[in-house]
């Protein structure tokens, strides 16, 4: 290109020289003029060609830049598209009547606020088949200790202080391999599919202000253990089968049966006893109507720190039957749980006499435990412009449904009945109110009334 321009410049220079010399002869002049005209035309043509070429090049450059930009954009977009973030949480106010001690039969009322939980869930899709998910839960406002300097204490002292109550927990940390819909494998810290709360735990997925009390009084609500599981769906059937870490019977308590045997107190989970969980659903509880059955089976004795205190296996088995009917404005969900524990008396004895282990007064264990709930709601937005669901709920639990010897106390047999509303100002937020009655099966303990308000949210990016 440069050479062409230089040529042009030379020609122009030559033309001005020759015109000055040829002025004397008209014929020669004419010839020279014609020649120059031809040259000029040729030059014009060259110039036009050059400009066109330049234009083309520019267009090409622009096109290239565009390609680069779009490629970059595609690259960044796909990086984020592989990452997922979800969060949900709830805050509640409860007003309950409570008893000062076991002899007290005139209840007192107490109102309480609780930043129940804030849950964050991070996921990453490595490729079409592999992904991972980590769920971190902050309960009751988190926890913390702090070292402080107190200049007013004697000569000035360093003090360790507990700053806030609550817990921070990894509730799930799983890797998943899912080549197709019909089959997948997950492992790590995974959710057990026992209990509907494990499936429906976001505030918009249950109607009551707090999660179902019946389930919390019998097994770990949103139960997670270390292990491996397979899952998949075929023709609207969903199945799961898992092998996970078992429970430790040292922490079984009268009031919540095996729930506190969930090993989360220690840095390591004793895994000398494994447990097995299976679930089969027809339909999808998260999306609407479904029926399902789940079963848990596992021994517990060898997971005790003092493993020589109980000679039996301490086998826990739990059967869960659940159903949901969600259609148009109607919502109906329910679950029945039945559990058995072998060697309940031996575990009770061991828990009462293990040095340093303090079950306090709550060592007696049911050899059978039972719980159920039914919640029914009507979504009024189908009839009015107001996005409100009204509901009624009943929860029942009895962790001492049967005992090895004698008769179990009825003190822990509870029934909660309530009515309330869910209001959705926007789909991601729900405001709840609930009022109800708690009945203890023991006639000498009066019924109490409770009232609760709650606000919950959930979103996913």
């Amino acid at each position: 290109m440069k050479t062409k321009l230089s040529l042009l410049a030379l020609c122009i220079a030559g033309f001005s020289c020759t015109s000055a010399l040829a002025a004397s002869n008209p014929a020669q002049l004419e010839q020279a003029i014609a020649k120059q005209e031809a040259e000029l035309n040729k030059l014009k043509h060259d110039l036009a060609e050059l400009a066109a070429q330049q234009k083309m090049q520019q267009a090409e450059q622009e096109k290239q830049a565009e390609v680069v930009a779009t490629t970059n954009k595609v690259l960044t977009e796909s990086k984020w598209s592989k990452f997922s973030f979800k969060s949900y949480g709830s805050m509640v106010y409860t007003s309950d009547e409570y008893y000062q001690n076991v002899q007290d039969t005139s209840p007192e009322r107490r109102g309480r606020f609780d930043l129940e939980r804030i849950v964050t869930e991070f996921g990453y899709q490595f490729n079409d088949e592999w992904d991972m998910e980590v769920e971190i839960e902050y309960e009751h406002g988190g926890t913390g200790t702090a070292l402080e300097y107190d200049g007013f204490d004697e000569f000035g002292e360093f003090e360790t202080e507990v700053e806030a109550g609550g817990e921070v927990m990894i509730e799930k940390a799983e890797l998943r391999y899912r080549p197709n819909d019909a089959f997948g494998v997950k492992f790590g810290n995974i959710h057990l599919p026992i209990g509907l709360t494990s499936i429906l735990h976001k505030p918009n997925q249950y109607l009551t202000v707090q999660r179902h009390r019946s389930e919390a009084a019998m097994l770990p609500a949103v139960w997670n253990e270390m292990g491996v599981g397979i899952f998949g769906e075929m023709a609207n059937f969903h199945y799961q089968a898992q092998v996970v870490s078992g429970l430790n019977s040292e922490y079984f308590r009268t009031y919540d049966w095996i729930a506190s045997g969930h090993q989360k107190r220690f840095e390591h989970v004793n895994a000398d006893e494994l447990a097995y969980a299976v679930r089969l659903d027809y339909g999808n509880f998260k999306q609407g109507s479904a029926v399902g059955v789940a079963y848990y089976y596992g021994n517990t004795s060898d997971n005790r720190h003092k493993s020589n205190k109980v000679s039996g296996d301490g086998t826990v088995s739990i059967l869960a039957i659940s159903g949901a009917f969600v259609q148009g404005p109607w919502i109906l969900r329910g679950q029945y749980l039945n559990g058995t524990l072998s060697d309940a008396d031996a575990i009770t004895q061991a828990n009462k006499t293990t040095p340093g282990l303090k079950p306090g007064n709550f060592a007696q264990l049911g050899s059978e435990s039972e719980a159920f709930f039914v919640e029914a709601g009507v979504d009024l937005s189908h009839f009015t412009p107001v996005p409100i669901t009204v509901f009624a709920n009943i929860d029942y639990s009895n962790p001492l449904a049967d005992v090895d010897t004698g008769t179990g106390s009825k003190r822990y047999e509870n029934t909660w009945t309530s009515i309330g509303i869910n209001y959705f100002p926007i789909p991601e937020i729900v405001i709840k109110a609930e009022a109800g009655r708690q009945q203890v099966a023991m006639s000498s303990i009066p019924d109490t009334n409770f009232f609760a308000l709650g606000v919950g949210y959930q979103f996913s990016l």
Partner: protein, 382 residues
């Protein structure tokens, strides 16, 4: 060359450390006057372990056996005299137990024996269900039940009645089911008192561990993971005293006492069925005196915490001694001239004045123990 240097440094360090560690036998430089006192604690610790603590638990075990025999007799022959005898056996067992609350550390805590024997409040609602739904109570079955339907206070309720109007019970009101349950309870009770005594004399965990008494008497030995030094033992003893003074003053008395006669709550009064509350409270502080003086009331003088305090501060030793006596007297004085039980006194204007006086005496004693006796541990030249 390099290794040689490291070795030289190591040797220098070791010899310096050795010089520091050997200061006990190093008598070249006399210690400077550092405001510290000397006291040889071995005799005191041995005496408190054997003659106060173990002796108390042995008495408790004997009284537990007697309680069981009395209830057997009562079931075999339901007479008023046998009921009164069982009531007396209960009170007799209560005394060493309450006095022993001044040193509620070791197996009584680690083996969870305290709640098995002395859970309070009593779960009367569950107890009534237990009595109607069951029969022929075996000790093994009872052991599996929750602690709030067994132990001292369940036996008390069965023996003395509800304690509202009086602490007498007619034998005709004692049902067969109640008597049988009492017998089962006292068997369980006897077993636990025996376990407690054995844990101090034979094995602290009932298995392969050493006797707890030996661990207390021999701190600092290689296999003693409980007590690293005599300082630790004395600290445990002093903290035990502080613990019960705090519990009697701020818990057992203050909780039911409330802020006024209107907020007083009789349901929280311990030993309310037998009207034994004031005896319980004064026995608790007599237990403090046992540890402090080094001997049970009336026995010949032996070394106790008082001798340790005397070595550090003679005036303080005498002051604490009189504060303990004063607290006991003030608690006993709550009953007034007409032998008013504690559960009545909390609702009585004059009774409340006397209770406040006792609470003040206990607070004073607690303050002396916490802010004057405890700091002596730092001044003790071990």
């Amino acid at each position: 060359m390099k290794q040689l240097k490291y070795s030289a440094v190591a040797i220098a360090l070791i010899s310096t450390l050795a010089a520091c560690g050997g200061s006990g036998s190093d008598d070249t430089t006399p210690p400077p006057t550092d405001n510290k006192f000397e006291f040889a604690a071995t005799e005191m610790i041995t005496n408190l372990t054997d003659d106060v603590i173990i002796s108390g638990y042995s008495t408790l075990a004997i009284k537990g056996e007697e309680m069981f025999l009395a209830s057997q007799t009562l079931v075999a022959n339901k007479t008023q005299a046998n009921l009164l005898a069982a009531q007396e056996a209960w009170k007799a067992a209560r005394q060493p137990w309450e006095q022993g609350e001044s040193h509620i550390f070791g197996p009584v805590d680690s083996l969870g024996i305290d709640p098995h024997l002395d859970s309070w409040p009593l779960n009367t609602t569950d107890l009534k269900t237990v009595l109607t739904d069951n029969s022929g109570f075996s000790a093994d079955t009872i052991k599996g039940w929750n602690d709030d339907v067994q132990g001292f206070h369940t036996m008390e309720y069965l023996l003395f009645g509800d304690g509202v109007a009086d602490n007498q019970k007619d034998v005709a009101d004692l049902t067969m089911s109640e008597a049988e349950y009492l017998m089962g309870l006292s068997e369980v009770f006897r077993d636990y008192t025996k376990t407690l005594d054995d844990s101090w004399l034979i094995s602290h965990d009932g298995q392969t561990g050493k006797a707890y008494g030996e661990l207390v008497k021999n701190p600092g030995t290689a296999d003693n993971t409980f007590y690293a030094s005599q300082v630790g033992v004395i600290q445990e003893l002093v903290n035990g005293m502080i613990g019960i003074v705090d519990e009697v003053g701020n818990g057992k008395i203050a909780d039911p006492f409330g802020t006024s006669a209107a907020t007083a709550d009789t349901s929280k009064v311990e030993s309310q069925y037998s009207w034994n509350s004031l005896t319980d409270f004064s026995d608790n502080i007599i237990g403090v005196r046992n540890v402090y003086q080094g001997e049970l009331t009336g026995a010949s003088d032996k070394q106790g915490i008082i001798d340790f305090v005397k070595a550090g501060d003679e005036a303080l030793a005498l002051r604490v001694s009189s504060e303990i006596d004063d607290a006991i007297i003030k608690i006993q004085a709550i009953k007034g001239s007409n032998n008013m039980p504690f559960r009545q006194a909390i609702a009585d204007a004059e009774g409340r004045v006397r209770i406040q006086t006792a609470v003040d005496a206990l607070s004073k004693l607690q303050a002396s123990l916490e802010s004057d006796v405890v700091p002596l541990l730092n001044k003790w030249k071990v």
